[in-house]
Structure formats: structure tokens, C-alpha cells
């Protein structure tokens, strides 16, 4: 299996993603430059976190128009698994692969902390080795993670099982107090209708080794293995 990690100017979690995914899956990692028009035979694409194009205009807006994103869009529409983490999630919404938008955090602060997450959809290529209802701990580090969608989209997301992760407390209760950024319905991660495109604000690649504080994120990459 070949996994492509896209590198935009300003991406800063690309090597972390590559390292963590390689260690968990043993897959070959290719770093794909944003100017490429070619996914180089990759079977899975990861859009890493960071500050692509310096967050100019809106987070992810410029990246969504880069050459490689035209290829990623076409591949995603053919069913290729695509994972967007943090800035990668913002790029997925800006490019229209996922609905809605990530707005400035309700508090207007950059939030850097470890949060609890409840898994709600274990059918995506990235969560199928997880268990619905399982609570995991993952770090978040963002300024724009306040998920917003219009009322109709919100209803569809809830109705079609497109909410994959929700912010919750340590017991798995989805509460207002456990919502770090104001995201609608405590949504931390959502997928498209087909389920092959997943975007989430938390950083699973940062919790794939005990030495770094936990291994709760590894399930997303382990799920890619047969």
C-alpha cells in the first residue's frame, strides 16, 4: 500500500503524519508536493495539519485551488480514501469534498489541549477497526475549528451518520462543557456521504506512540490495513 502525504507551503505536520502512519501500517509513504498533478499511484491520501499558504484569505482556501487538490478531488470522487487532519480538514471543506466550514473558535483563542472524543461511525476506511461509542483522547491545536453548516446540511450530517467524532467528556457524554471550540453538535470529525473522505480537527498522528502520551490515534491508520 502506498500512502501519499500532501505537502503545501506551510504544512507542518506532514513528517509527523508520515512517521506515525509508516510505523503503524508499514506502508510506503510518499510526500506529494502541492504543485504535482500526479498522485504517483497512491492508494490513500492524507492532508496534514499546519498553516498552508500562511492561512491567507481563509484557512485552506488557497490550498483548495492548488494543482494537487484537483487530482485529490477527482480521486476522492472515485472513492479513494482521503483523510484531512486539522488544516487538512479545513482544506477538505474549502474544496467542497466535505460540507460546511471551520470558523474561528468561539473563544477567539488558539486552543492547544488534549480532548476526549466519541467515535460515532466505524464504517469509514479510517475508523472500521474502532468501536462505536468508544472514547479516545487526542490533542487539538487550532484557531479555526468551530464547525458550522447550514440547518439543512446539519440535518443531513446527523441523519446520514456522517458525524464520525464528537467532542465529549471523559465518560463519553456529549456536553456543552466538553465542546472546546463551539462546533455545531460537538462535531470534531465528519465524513462525506460515501464515507471515503474524513476530516477531523484532532491530531491522531500525535498519539500513535506510548512515549508521546498515548496510542489512541493509531486506530485510524490501523483501519487502513485489510
Amino acid at each position: 500500500m502506498k500512502i501519499g502525504v500532501v505537502v503545501f507551503p506551510g504544512s507542518n505536520c506532514d513528517r509527523d503524519c508520515g512517521q506515525a502512519i509508516s510505523k503503524v501500517t508499514g506502508a510506503q509513504i510518499l510526500y506529494l508536493w502541492h504543485k504535482n498533478f500526479d498522485l504517483e499511484g497512491c492508494d490513500v491520501i492524507v492532508l496534514p495539519g499546519g498553516f498552508s499558504y500562511g492561512d491567507y484569505l481563509r484557512c485552506g482556501a488557497i490550498a483548495s485551488h492548488s494543482p494537487i487538490m484537483q487530482e485529490v478531488k477527482a480521486a476522492a470522487n472515485r472513492g479513494m480514501p482521503v483523510l484531512g487532519i486539522c488544516n487538512g480538514f479545513q482544506i477538505l471543506t474549502e474544496s467542497g469534498l466535505l460540507p460546511g466550514v471551520l470558523m474561528r473558535n468561539r473563544s477567539l483563542n488558539f486552543i492547544c489541549e488534549t480532548v476526549s472524543l466519541k467515535l460515532e461511525n466505524a464504517k469509514t476506511p479510517f475508523t472500521r477497526k474502532g468501536k462505536v461509542g468508544a472514547v479516545s483522547r487526542m490533542p487539538i491545536a487550532h484557531m479555526e475549528g468551530n464547525y458550522f453548516a447550514d440547518a439543512e446540511t446539519f440535518k443531513t450530517l446527523e441523519g446520514e451518520g456522517q458525524v464520525v467524532f464528537r467532542y465529549c467528556d471523559e465518560k463519553g457524554q456529549v456536553t456543552e462543557a466538553s465542546n472546546p471550540n463551539g462546533a455545531m453538535g460537538n462535531m470534531a470529525g465528519i465524513c462525506n456521504k460515501a464515507g471515503n473522505v474524513l476530516g477531523l480537527m484532532p491530531h491522531p498522528e500525535r498519539v500513535c506512540e506510548e512515549l508521546l502520551g498515548g496510542t489512541d490515534g493509531a486506530v485510524l491508520f490501523r483501519s487502513l490495513l485489510g
Binding site: L57, R58, A61, H65, T93, E94, P99, G100, V101, M103, R104, R106, S107, L108, F148, A149, D150
Partner: protein, 79 residues
């Protein structure tokens, strides 16, 4: 041709930045400022044969790039 595109948050979307600016204005001592909403202005110079063509270009870039129409509206005008 010179043009200007103004991007604003939709009225239904909460604007915490505008609210923070509003609180700051109140702290300056101006008590009569009721509401602040923050937006963006793009000054654009473009080549087009007719105003109609220019408007079509502005509409395209407004919709696809300058504004995120999930949360923002834009208005384009030729100057």
C-alpha cells in the same frame, strides 16, 4: 478596469471578532455603538472588454475564492 469586492459574514452567522471589536469600542468610552460586523475588501484591477465581462469574472472569483458562500456573502462593483 478597477473593481471592488466586499465580503461579509451572512447575517445569520455569529461574528465573535466583530463582537470583540464592539466590546473594545465600548471600553474606549463610546457607549452608542450598537453593532460591529467585520468583513473584507478586495481592490481589484482587471482587463475586460465590457463591464458585463468584468462582472462575470468578479462573480466567478467571488463565489469560488474570495468568499466562502457557506458563511459569507459578497458584493462586487466596478469603480
Amino acid at each position: 478596469m478597477k473593481a471592488q469586492v466586499i465580503v461579509k459574514l451572512k447575517e445569520s452567522v455569529l461574528d465573535p471578532q466583530g463582537m470583540a471589536i464592539g466590546r473594545s469600542i465600548a471600553a474606549m468610552g463610546h457607549k452608542g455603538v450598537n453593532l460591529v460586523r467585520q468583513g473584507k475588501i478586495f481592490d481589484i484591477d482587471l482587463n475586460a472588454k465590457t463591464p458585463g465581462e468584468a462582472e462575470a469574472i468578479l462573480k466567478d472569483i467571488g463565489e469560488k475564492l474570495l468568499a466562502n458562500t457557506v458563511i459569507e456573502d459578497f458584493e462586487a462593483k466596478l469603480l
